[in-house]
């Protein structure tokens, strides 16, 4: 499995998560989103950058609840709710956004 980015293939697992986390760059995120017919806008990037920062610090992807709480604190209460996050990432903020952010699948998502 893989995703095409600028003419070469980046390896992913059977669910579309990156095999090598170091392969990530913004183009990879755009290509992954395009496969699911999603165009990434600034609000999407806010979430993706938050997730990458969180993973970098704690070596773990946050759960949806942790993400919702943390986004609310960082970006304001109007964004810290599941309605806002599911609006951006209809397949589930933790699952879909973590994938685009190049993180492993979060704990608790099976």
């Amino acid at each position: 499995m893989g995703v095409e980015v600028n003419g070469h293939t980046v390896e992913t697992d059977e669910e579309g998560y990156l095999v090598k986390l170091d392969d990530w760059n913004p183009e990879v995120a755009k290509a992954m989103a395009a496969l699911e017919a999603l165009t990434l806008t600034e609000p999407h990037w806010e979430v993706l950058h938050f997730l990458r920062g969180y993973y970098d610090e704690y070596q773990i992807a946050p759960t949806v609840r942790v993400l919702t709480k943390a986004i609310g604190r960082k970006l304001g209460p109007d964004k810290g709710n599941s309605k806002y996050l599911y609006g951006l990432f209809p397949k589930g903020p933790a699952k879909q956004a973590c994938k685009y952010a190049g993180l492993p699948k979060p704990t608790g998502c099976r």
Partner: protein, 138 residues
């Protein structure tokens, strides 16, 4: 949705050194899974388990994930108490200042930063274990 299921008191007991075996990493995985199901969860570190919390560990040369960084996220997963056995610390020549400072931010108290670690004796730990619904032992 059905009404919320009853929550149980879980305690994850860590007795093994961090990297020689898979116990510590598996325990952490179990903790994060349990937390994802909204249970009341605390952790205990005793015997060689106290080594898991020693700060300044670098696993890059042994090819293993540096999971101690993840301990700092426990507060985000609604863990509010990490018990550390002071007798195990003393027996290994360690003091509280050798361990990772673990905090959580209390949403109900204007995000005040509070300590996660409670220092306990073995006798106190026995009582704490007795008060749990489920003890996960690693």
């Amino acid at each position: 949705m059905p009404s919320s299921p009853p929550t149980k008191r879980f305690l994850c007991v860590n007795r093994k050194a961090p990297h020689g075996t898979g116990y510590a990493a598996e325990a952490l995985e179990a903790v994060l899974m349990t937390a994802a199901f909204d249970q009341r969860l605390s952790l205990a570190f005793l015997d060689d388990g106290v080594y898991q919390l020693v700060q300044g560990q670098d696993t890059s040369d042994i090819g293993l994930k540096h999971f101690s960084a993840t301990f700092k996220a426990l507060g985000d997963f609604d863990v509010r108490t990490v018990y550390v056995d002071v007798e195990s610390l003393e027996a290994r020549g360690l003091t509280p200042s050798d361990l990772l400072p673990l905090h959580y931010e209390d949403e109900a108290d204007d995000w005040a930063v509070k300590d996660l670690i409670q220092w306990v004796t073995r006798a106190q730990l026995a009582e704490i274990m007795d008060a749990q619904d489920v003890v996960l032992s690693f």
